[in-house]
C-alpha cells in the first residue's frame, strides 16, 4: 500500500477515506461522500471522489456493483481489504510512535 499511496499522489488521502468508508459494506458515490464528511468533518468534493474511485477501481482495490436506479454501489475487493488493513496498521504504528514521543501513549 505505501507504493500505491505514492502512485495515488494527491488522491492518497481521499482514497484511504473511501476505503475506510467501504469497509463496512458497499456504498454508492453520494453515500461515500456523506459518510466520509460525517467521519472526518471535512468536505469530500464530487470531483475528488470520482477521481479517487477511478484510481481505486483501476488498481483493483474496489469494484463496481450493478447500478440501482442511477446509483452504482462500490465495494472493497479482497486486495483492497488487505491493502486497507496494511495501511491502517502502518498508520496505527506511526500514531503510537508519535504518541509515545509526546508521552501520551496509554498502552
Amino acid at each position: 500500500m505505501p507504493d500505491s499511496n505514492v502512485e495515488l499522489g494527491r488522491f492518497a488521502e481521499p482514497s484511504l477515506l473511501i476505503l475506510v468508508s467501504l469497509s463496512d459494506g458497499p456504498k454508492h458515490g453520494y453515500a461515500i461522500m456523506t459518510d466520509v464528511e460525517a467521519g472526518t468533518g471535512r468536505p469530500l468534493g464530487p470531483g475528488t471522489l470520482y477521481a479517487a474511485l477511478a484510481r481505486l477501481e483501476e488498481r483493483g482495490l474496489i469494484e463496481a456493483l450493478a447500478p440501482v436506479d442511477r446509483r452504482r454501489p462500490y465495494r472493497l475487493t479482497g486486495v483492497g481489504e488487505s491493502a486497507l488493513k496494511e495501511q491502517l496498521s502502518s498508520l496505527e504504528a506511526f500514531a503510537r510512535l508519535g504518541l509515545r514521543r509526546l508521552g501520551t501513549d496509554q498502552t
Binding site: 453520494y30 468534493g45 464530487p46 470531483g47 470520482y50 477511478a54 483501476e58 447500478p67
Partner: protein, 257 residues
C-alpha cells in the same frame, strides 16, 4: 449547470461514470467548492483517460505529444518547402528565412513528438533518428538566425559561415530523416507509404544536392527540377506523416509487440 460540468469530462469517462456522477451532483446544491472540485476532477480525467476502466483511450502525455508532433510535421513540412522554394526562386533568403526557420522548428517538433511511439519497439534507432536530424534542425536554425541578422555573412562559428552552418544542418536533417523513416517503418506506425517516400526523397535530395546525379542545382534546369521535386516529396512525406499521426487511433495499436 450540471450538464455543463459533465461536458468538461472526456467522453469515455462520461460513458462510465456519467449517470452516477450526475446523480451525486443532483443530490445536493453545488457550492463554489464543489464547482472548483469538479473542474479539477475533469482536468484530471482529461489528463489520464486510460484510468477509466475499459477505456482504450491513450493517456494524456502521449496524446499531447502525438498532436504536437502531428501539427509540427504538417506545418513544418509546408513552411519548410515553401520557404526554401520561394527563397531559391527569389535568388536570396530575405523574408523567406523566417519561414524556413519556422518550418525547421516544426520539423524538430515533429521529430520529437512522433518518435514517442517508435521508441516502444526501436529505442536505439529511435534515439538516433531523433538526435541526428534534431541536431541538424538546430544547426539549420542557428545558420538561419545568422543569415537573418547578418546579411553580409559576417556571422561565423569557427571557420563556418552562417550559410555553411545552415547547409550542414540541412544535410544532417535530411540525412537523419532517412533514419527517422526507417524507424517509422520498423515500428509499424503511421504511414508506411509516407515513410518510404520520405526515405527515397531524402536520398534523392542528397544525391542531387551533392551533384552525384549529374548537373548542377544552380544552373542545370533538369537537375533543378529533380531537386525541387525531391524537396517537395520530402516535405509532403512529413505532411502525410503528420496527418496520419493526428488521425492516429488508440495507442494499443502501436504498443510493444
Amino acid at each position: 449547470m450540471i450538464g455543463l460540468l459533465l461536458a468538461m469530462y472526456p467522453a469515455p469517462w462520461r460513458r462510465r461514470y456519467g449517470e452516477e456522477f450526475r446523480a451525486v451532483l443532483e443530490s445536493r446544491p453545488l457550492g463554489p467548492f464543489d464547482f472548483a472540485d469538479v473542474l479539477l476532477g475533469a482536468l484530471d480525467a482529461r489528463l489520464a483517460p486510460r484510468r477509466v476502466p475499459g477505456s482504450a483511450g491513450i493517456d494524456g502525455g502521449p496524446r499531447m505529444m502525438l498532436r504536437i508532433g502531428g501539427y509540427g510535421a504538417v506545418a513544418g513540412g509546408l513552411l519548410w518547402f515553401v520557404g526554401i522554394f520561394a527563397s531559391s526562386m527569389s535568388g536570396g533568403g530575405g523574408i523567406w528565412i523566417p519561414v524556413i526557420m519556422l518550418g525547421t522548428l516544426g520539423l524538430l517538433l515533429a521529430l520529437i513528438g512522433l518518435s514517442a511511439f517508435q521508441a516502444y519497439r526501436q529505442p536505439v534507432l529511435a534515439w538516433a533518428a531523433v538526435v541526428i536530424p534534431g541536431l541538424g534542425a538546430i544547426a539549420s536554425v542557428v545558420g538561419l538566425v545568422g543569415m537573418a541578422t547578418r546579411p553580409e555573412d559576417a556571422f561565423m562559428i569557427g571557420s563556418f559561415s552562417s550559410w555553411a552552418i545552415w547547409a550542414i544542418g540541412l544535410v544532417t536533417t535530411v540525412g537523419g530523416s532517412i533514419l527517422f523513416a526507417v524507424a517509422t517503418i520498423r515500428a509499424k506506425v503511421f504511414s508506411h507509404g509516407a515513410a518510404i517516400a520520405m526515405a527515397l526523397s531524402a536520398v534523392v535530395v542528397l544525391l542531387v544536392g551533392f551533384g552525384f546525379l549529374g548537373g548542377s542545382t544552380y544552373g542545370d534546369v533538369p537537375s533543378q527540377l529533380v531537386f525541387a521535386l525531391s524537396l517537395g516529396s520530402f516535405a509532403a512525406s512529413w505532411v502525410a506523416l503528420g496527418i496520419r499521426a493526428l488521425r492516429r487511433g488508440p495507442i494499443r495499436a502501436i504498443a510493444p509487440a
